[in-house]
Amino acid sequence: MLSGNGFIILMVILVSGSVLGLAGLAVYCLNKTVDQSEG
């Protein structure tokens, strides 16, 4: 079982990782559509 602090760290990584990951993926896809049109 995780301690209290360990659980908080896990939650910070999960929430930040998932939201930032989604935003990063969206930015990547948007740039790709523009790159393809320019190429």
């Binding site: 908080i8 939650m11 948007l30 740039n31 523009v34 049109s37 320019e38």
Partner: protein
Amino acid sequence: MHLIPHSWEHWHILVSLLPSVGLFFALCLYGIGIYTDKDIIKRACLFIFALIALATVPTYLSGDHSMTALAGNPRFPEGMMNSHFNWSVAALLLMAVNGIVAWLELVRSWNGRPSQNALHLVLGLGLVTLALMMVAGELGWDINHNELRLDPATQKTSQLWSHAHIILNHFPTIGFVVGLGVYVGALVLDNIVLKRAGLFLFVACAILTVPTYVTGNASMWAVTDPPIEGVSKAVINAHRDMALLALFGMAFTGVTAWIELWRYRYLGRFSNLSLYLVLAFAVVTFAILAETGHRGGQINHPEIVLPTDVLPTDPKLGWMPAIELAINQVTWFVPWQTLHFFGYSLVFGVALVTSLRVLGFWKSMSFAAVHRLLPIGVFGVLMNVFSGMLILQADSSRYLNEITFVPKIIFLTIGALAVLYYSLSERLWAVKAGEEAPMGAKWVAALVLTSWTIVIMGGRLLPYL
């Protein structure tokens, strides 16, 4: 079907917003049309002015019948109703004149360009009408909202919040109606300028939702602590649940609309799939906004509540009380706060780079090159709106009463609206590598940087002042 008004008072609350708040949005769009010299926007606005003028008839009739229905009711003082009536008649008459002039000019210039004199006459009449509408609207809101007249010394949370929310909540809703009208018209006419105008209105309304949501949260405290007779926390919570959904809907519509504006810059065309996706989001959001507004009206408008309406009675039911409980746990608060810090790093970083280019730094890059970075900043704003709203629920009465909260929210709104200029300005888009940006764009860049600096400083100072 419960959204359809069953009384004159209910009809009046709804239709009276078109000649007042609707006129504000039409005038904003009209000003942009005149500034950018886009005839299609000017014509669309002349048409909207004529439509709004038609709305003066149901506004007057419903208002007149409401006065008869409410006469003798001690909640609605007769003197205040008469004062509202007199100012409203003057405003509605001028609105009708403005609508007739706009319609005549639209018909006269059908096969040519509208005349400058007529356009300026409509602008002048519209501005004077708006001023009269503001007085009439304020007097109208005062009639029912007795809480605005409470002694400030007895209030823990200022009733200025309630006052601000009563006014502000109509802007994203009515603005959205105007935006939806312009957007559908643009799709039918297949006109690019109007499509961009509709998308702009969706983004602007999404930005205005933030101060509306925050003032709503503060108003809840203002009317429940100390409690006000007739105002139920359970009914407020039902409204808050739907307001949260409305915030999601506005955010999805606003961000997809902004992405389409951003992509249009590079592709030079719109994707039909994306345009209809924005429309689908907008229609669903409009339905949510209608229900949110209806539930909001039930809080403090006993005259529109029907005997058959079943209002909630348990203040612990719903999503918002559950979110308040969860976000007060450190295991939920800290992750969202961390995300909030990531968000403002992204927003400020992108705002800094793009604004410094506009101000004359790293001129070896064209503006189009730095404009590519903007989606990162927009996703940062999106992250912070949601994480910020969640963090706010942890101790909203304390946060909202801190002195730096108001400037933070005001400048967040100004900063976000100013960034929109970067994706809309034709002159800025044409700035090539080695070229200076226009002076007007530099002032906007300075405003963007100042605004986001105040937002971050205001937020960081919240726990300490």
